[in-house]
């Protein structure tokens, strides 16, 4: 699949870089898939905080398994109502629900801190004990894949079967 | 327990190097003890357990020092044993090292020199964790808003009631005053320049703060006097401020048989010169004044060459240190109460300022004729860590050692001080006074610092024969013997044998409960209710140190009624 790099001018006069995996390039400006190349930030939110000691709850799932995207990026990605986003970094990938966030600049995505965000964070601490939870380069694309729930997220790790709760 | 045949120095009881037996039972010195435990102290020096009246050993400042100085932590590492927790640190040792190292020196009591009321809980958490020794903490009052307002209003009754309340709230032992007024000014980055420089926003002067707190202290008949860190501490020419401060309180009388004011780490307050270029000692002036005024006492604040960590409630001083030294700097201002700072330092022999400072501490101790007015300290860890006390004692006892040291220093130590001309060498009785009997008396601890019947069974035994060793010549022997007690006995239990800790009992914590008239207490409460509602960031009900933090209290009663 060929990759095409284009730059789109977005609001506030700033530019964000996108990788376009396109069909019909050179004729009309239409794409089957656009991958957004962005910087991933993770951090606290109220909803994440309010449910962080109830990690098996739907509230935690709803609060934490989403990816906030700037409005222009969201629109550029052409995410439809039933679509999620796949976030991929050199450390892993994860499917998240997508939502617009007018506080985010183009080219920056935000995932509430938690196991979904950490699926794509690297383990290198740069010699100071702390991973780079903010600032990982990521690619974002729409997907029809479902978001894993917290059990599914850990299913391939230890002996989840028969979990006692 | 019977300690047989030691050569005992017990200045409070007039025992000057007599060979005698001591009996201890149930933690106290008695006429004659039963039991079979006998300690053979023949040919050894026996003294009451050492008492440190001024050291920074617990609380926020000390822990800030540890956290910002991992390089210091690495300097004192000793692994855990079956009996002992691990030790770390040289200037800012961990809690266990503090207890073990004091015990190895033959010290059995140490007082934390400065704790803000708001953060006293933290101080006590650390004091609880220090093994073996008995402890106490002096409470900071010199920049507290309630104090400043009482002084402004001239309300001595209310001030005394607040001091009593503050001691209770902090489980504190005495009234510490640090750079009075300067800490409040530092809230907006300022300082006071002398004892008559008004404190911003409060319309009071350091002179008034000191006088009122001393009067409140005496009205409450507290066991210890006001414990003062002077204004302008650490600055060239500050001896004038120091003398001015002392003259300002000459008319105040002590309410008990003790000093009326203790000026702490005097070395830092005895400076002449208009700047660092003409920096010089004014120790002779200070000591001369003390020789004429026996109502005042001081401690040395002796400087030790090498690494130190300066830490004080005098925050503007620390900011100045950090700028001067280009060193890392921590500051911690405490709402409504105090400020503080921490800066690491290395004192160098070839640094002219440090060399003069070193000499000043010794001049002060040696020129003050009455040893009862003087305590040996290093203001741990400001002048240097307390583990260097044997070095200081050796210096006090040996002119030869002082000359040997002076020869290795910047020559201004000889030119700008009187130390080379001082012939005095302390004897063992004087050493017992400045390290034990004196600090116990100055703190107001009748059961410490002596070995009379009823005293705490705290004894240090050193493997040195005072009748055979000449400290003047054999100062190395003195230093080595004092650094590793042959025995340290705490409340009748051997805690150190042959310089090693062999038992780890938990000591107790002194604090003072002073009674005041209910009418005054009620007025203080009303003020505090308002202050907590408007200004403090916590609730009044969560403020006071709870009993859970002082598990072995030793409460001293005092007060107006």
């Amino acid at each position: 699949m060929p990759q095409y790099y284009i730059k789109l001018t977005v609001p506030q006069g700033k530019t964000a870089q996108y990788i376009a995996l396109g069909r019909g390039w050179g004729k009309e400006f239409e794409f089957m898939v656009i991958i957004l190349k962005a910087i991933m930030i993770s951090g606290r939110t109220l909803g994440q905080g309010a449910s962080l000691e109830a990690k098996m709850s739907p509230e935690f799932f709803n609060a934490t398994s989403s990816c906030a995207i700037s409005e222009s990026d969201y629109n550029a990605l052409g995410i439809s109502g039933d679509e999620n986003v796949l976030v991929r970094t050199e450390f892993g990938e994860v499917v998240l629900s997508a939502r617009k966030d007018d506080g985010l600049p183009p080219g920056v995505i935000f995932i509430p801190m938690g196991p979904w965000a950490n699926a794509v964070v690297g383990e290198n601490t740069g010699g100071c004990g702390c991973p780079l939870f903010k600032g990982t380069e990521a690619e974002v694309e729409p997907t029809k894949t479902q978001v894993k729930d917290v059990c599914e997220l850990f299913a391939d790790l230890k002996r989840l079967a028969g979990e006692g709760s | 327990m019977i300690i047989e045949g030691g050569i005992v120095y017990d200045p409070i009881n007039g025992v000057l190097g007599e060979e005698m037996d001591l009996s201890i039972e149930d933690g106290r010195v008695v006429e004659k003890a039963g039991g079979s435990e006998v300690i053979d102290a023949r040919g050894m020096l026996v003294m009451p357990g050492g008492v440190d009246a001024h050291a920074h050993i617990a609380g926020g400042k000390v822990n800030t020092g540890r956290i910002m100085r991992p390089e210091d932590g690495r300097r004192g590492t000793e692994p855990r044993t079956k009996l002992l927790r691990p030790s770390t640190g040289y200037t800012v040792p961990n809690c266990y090292a503090i207890g073990y190292r004091y015990a190895r020196l033959g010290y059995t009591t140490a007082f934390e020199a400065a704790t803000p009321i708001l953060e006293a809980r933290h101080t006590h958490e650390e004091l609880e964790e220090i093994p073996i020794i008995d402890k106490g903490a002096l409470t900071l009052f010199g920049n507290n808003w309630e104090v400043l307002e009482c002084v402004r209003d001239g309300d001595l009754g209310k001030l005394a009631a607040f001091v009593a309340w503050g001691l209770l709230a902090s489980r504190g032992y005495g009234v510490k005053v640090v750079n009075p007024g300067g800490g409040e000014a530092w809230g907006f980055g300022g300082n006071v320049k002398g004892i008559d420089d008004p404190v911003p926003s409060f319309d009071v002067t350091p002179r008034e703060i000191i006088r009122y707190l001393m009067r409140a202290n005496e009205a409450l008949r507290l066991p210890h006097s006001v414990h003062l860190h002077t204004n302008n501490l650490g600055k060239p020419g500050n001896y004038e401020t120091t003398l001015e401060t002392l003259r300002a309180v000459e008319d105040i009388a002590a309410s008990r048989n003790r000093q009326v004011l203790h000026v702490t780490h005097m070395q830092f307050s005895a400076y002449g010169g208009t700047g660092w270029r003409d920096f010089e000692s004014k120790a002779p002036e200070i000591a001369g004044y003390f020789n004429r005024h026996d109502q005042f006492t001081m401690d040395m604040g002796q400087l030790i060459f090498g690494s130190a960590t300066t830490m004080t409630a005098d925050a503007p001083l620390e900011y100045g240190n950090a700028r001067l030294l280009k060193a890392k700097w921590s500051n911690h201002d405490i709402e409504l109460e105090e400020s503080s700072g921490v800066v690491p330092i290395v004192y160098g022999r070839k640094n002219p300022i440090n060399a003069i400072q070193w000499a000043i501490g010794l001049e002060l101790a040696l020129l003050t004729e009455d040893s009862w007015q003087m305590i040996m300290t290093t203001d741990h860890p400001n002048g240097g860590p307390f583990v260097n006390y044997p070095e200081v004692v050796a210096l006090l006892m040996s002119r030869r050692k002082r000359e040997e040291e002076l020869a290795t220093l910047h020559d201004l130590a000889s030119k700008r001080t009187s130390l080379p001309s001082i012939e005095r060498e302390m004897d063992w009785n004087e050493v017992a006074i400045v390290t034990r009997a004196g600090p116990a008396r100055i703190l107001g601890l009748p059961e410490k610092g002596h070995l009379g019947v009823g005293a705490d069974g705290d004894v240090s035994i050193y493997e040195i024969n005072p009748e055979k060793v000449d400290p003047s010549r054999d100062h190395e022997v003195v230093k080595a013997a004092l650094a590793r007690a042959k025995y340290t006995i705490k409340a009748g239990e051997v805690v150190v044998r042959d310089g090693e800790v062999v038992a780890v009992p938990q000591g107790s914590t002194y604090w003072v409960d002073a009674s005041v008239p209910e009418a005054d207490a009620a007025r203080v409460r009303a003020d505090l209710v308002e202050k907590f509602a408007k200004y403090y960031s916590i609730q009044m009900s969560n403020y006071m140190v709870q009993d859970a933090y002082v598990t072995r209290p030793r409460v001293v009663r005092a007060g107006v009624i």
Binding site: T125, G129, E163 | P79, T88, E119, G187, S537
Partner: protein, 430 residues
Amino acid sequence: MIEEDVLCPFCGCLCDDLKVEVEEGRIVGVKRACRLGMSKFMGHERIVAPMVRRDGVLVETSYEEAYERAAEILKAAKRPLLYGWCSTVCETAKKGILLAEEVGGVIDSTATVCHGPSIIGIEEKGLAGSTLGQVKNRADLIVFWGANPAEAHPRHTLRYSSNSTGMFTPEGRGGRKVIVVDVRKTRTAKNADKFVLIRPGTDYEVIAALRMIVKGKGDLLPDAVAGIAKSDLEEVADMMKAAKFGAVLIGLGLTHSRGRYKNVDGALSLVADLNGFTKFVVLAMRGHYNVAGFGQVCAWETGYPMAVDLSRGAPYFNPGETAACDLLARREADAMMVVAADPASNFPRKTVEAMAEIPVIQVDPYPNPTTFIADVVIPTAVCGIEAEGTAYRMDGLSLRMKKVVDSVYPTDEEVVENILDRVRRLGDDN
């Protein structure tokens, strides 16, 4: 019955003014708490009983067996890692450090993945700080840098910072300026007088540029630094120098992004520089209610605030080598005890995979992803609600947490002490 002045065991604000309504031993209402505190007091699903893993399955067991299994795991391990300690009281931490000494383990707290880099920054530069009440009473300029209290510390602004009132700040928010520096326009930023949007990972450059302007060397700067116009930075520097008392409140935006501890070093240095012109303090916006407390206890007990390796009997500290993430990433830890934390959620995936390969003991009131990979699960009482003890607020102020209701569960402290007892009984052979 209403319990007054209850402390909140959620975030580093450690609010101490909550009113908790208790009826028949149950909490039925909480006043003054934010959404975070409220959710904690009103309760979540709990781990019902101790569990141990048998044939790959967690099955309920007695506390006795759980303690025994935990002790056996720790005793058998060559390089046990004891991690967490921040959503519990200091009394637990003390026992935990003793346990780590006893088993020759490494003890580390959640601080290493939050403000750990701030602590390393403090080791470089020191911290010019104050209590929060000092900010409340004096600050006329507040700078939130990489911090979003609107979501992480909801009552901070009202109790301590931008919207609080005090002796010299009677007008509250009206008498103050608020600057927010962040990579996105957070809810906190929306309340700022001046918002500086920076690109992720450029904090260090921006701070360095500000330091140059503050120290009068701005003419050496280009017209824009990391995409920020120099004029914008000059405006910020002017606001800082014009303040009577400025407070820089730093968040994970500095510690979690490129530069990490060097960003914090820069912020601390900027504040030290500003004190040459006016009064400035800097505080870290600590996350968990007692993350600061573990650091305090660990420092006075071992000399170091986190990531302490006790395998050689004497404390050894070198974050990057001895921090939890590093030990796991290197597959060095061969057993892990997790107390009051959830590293399975909060560590990078590769690190969690390493956890899944070794025996894990979990001590916690609540089930969470760490439960999925635990071999021993020991439920406990919730500190600050069902158990009392000491906690340190984000500014280092120590307070006593209350117990407002009884619990059927043992406290964290009791559990750690029980495991310590079992470890000691297993003998001294390592």
